[in-house]
Symmetry: C2
Subunit: 281 residues, 2 copies
């Protein structure tokens, strides 16, 4: 496994790699969710490149950039085990040199859900992903469904800009009790860990309502909100039942399918989870 720290070295190395090249961008502090993306990439590509880059521009001024959990040594051990070929770990000053002023914006899609409480977040995500895509030139790039809006934004960006790669969105990986894997689970203290299960329970509730034939978005949303509110340690950011393509909120009947997504604060971390409700009952 090669560790590459400069953009020029990465571009040079890339020229030696035969297609297809799979790319998994991460912010490090790897968990089973990341590893599942890497395994998928490993199974579909000749070469697998993983980036570890805690992207400053996707954090708001009040957010946890400085305290975001990092453990590079452990990450590298895991990546070696998963047989990644290359780990790309650029310095922030190389990705954003002084005077860098170009941004990629995905309008509309980024203004709801996470975009409301995190203005500029998706601009940071779209910009860093564009930079990484241009440096790595992957054939396939892998993202988790857990960050459903992020996955949708990146797909849309790649499509709108005619980027020469395919975005692969992979299922959410969960702890045995159902909690979606996330680097930010690390922040959960004491009773919060158990309280955080309320997200998964609410997805299960939504799925069972759907299976019983419930199609009214407002009804489903209402039931979920009530359930989460029953957990004293949980504070709802949003509960959304939205169109899977446009992310526009659905108010009445769901016609074909819907993305149920939520942000819920449990102690320090703001946790995300989501499920696509689709298919017949």
């Amino acid at each position: 496994m090669e560790t590459v720290r400069t953009i020029s070295d990465m571009k040079l190395l890339r020229q030696r790699l035969a297609e297809p090249v799979g790319f998994v961008p991460t912010m490090g502090f790897l968990h089973e969710g990341h590893l599942s993306l890497i395994r998928r990439a490993r199974s579909e590509n000749r070469h697998v490149i993983v980036s570890i880059f805690v992207n400053p521009t996707q954090f708001g001024p009040e957010e946890d950039f400085d305290s975001y959990p990092r453990d590079t040594e452990r990450d590298l051990t895991l990546l070696k085990q998963e047989k990644a070929d290359v780990v790309f770990m650029p310095e922030p000053e190389k990705i954003y040199p002084p005077g860098a002023c170009t941004w990629v914006e995905v309008e509309g899609l980024t203004e709801m859900l996470e975009g409301i409480s995190r203005p500029g977040h998706f601009r940071g995500v779209a910009t860093v992903v564009t930079k990484l895509f241009n440096i790595i030139e992957p054939t396939y790039a892998y993202f988790g469904q857990k960050d459903a809006q992020q996955a949708r934004v990146i797909r849309k960006m790649a499509e709108d800009l005619f980027m020469n790669l395919e975005i692969i969105v992979c299922p959410t990986i969960r702890e045995p009790d159902g909690l979606a894997m996330s680097s930010r689970n690390f922040y959960l203290k004491g009773k919060e860990r158990k309280a955080a299960l309320i997200l998964y329970k609410s997805l299960q509730l939504a799925q069972s309502l759907w299976n019983r034939g419930e199609r009214h978005a407002g009804k489903i949303r209402g039931e979920i909100v009530s359930l989460i509110e029953s957990e004293p340690l949980a504070r709802i950011g949003y509960v959304s039942v939205a169109d899977t393509e446009t992310l526009q909120e659905i108010e009445e009947e769901i016609e074909y399918e819907a993305l149920l997504s939520m942000a819920v604060k449990v102690g320090k971390p703001r946790l995300l989870d989501s499920i696509v409700l689709s298919g017949s009952a």
Copy 2:
């Protein structure tokens, strides 16, 4: 010479072309300025691709998108003479399909000069150029120095986003009497054509001031403004003496070099011209 109208055909054709591939993006209605870019590309590449696309998103609501001069038949004849290999002429609805919502923004650099009177102009330019670059994947892309700010913005964008190509900026081509070639010269009526020479004359004045050792930006700007104001058919948009990299206006002494640029309305068209003042007297 192949004429390609769809993005998928263009991407397919591109895969058959060996490096280096030179690309000249145009809005058609070709003149000697464009042809000089194409000749340069022809001399430096195995394959030359020219796009003709009047990009709607770089025109403001009050601007001349609908009336922008077009003559595809003549353009194709010229391109055949210059031995372009491929002409890419996509439909606007394919470059901007319904729901397309991703934009590339170059901040700072785009907020002065043209950016002041044409808000959104450079966002449209940067976005369409990014789309075309992703479709064409050129080794080299050629732009004219005449639109000095545009050239700077595109260079900056390519650099900031780590795009895998090189931007080549080529000298302004002029009519025998000095008027910079531009598709919009077509709008000049009667006496306006001669009055338009005031731009070139002011560049000459600036150069001669520079050669005589004048280094005070305000002084040079003042002389130019007076000269242009002496032409009754000319209305100044701006006259700028700025840093060639940041495009920040210089107020005092020019240290090393400066970009003198101007926008001047003569009759209907708003004409641009520019010169880099550099080197010793």
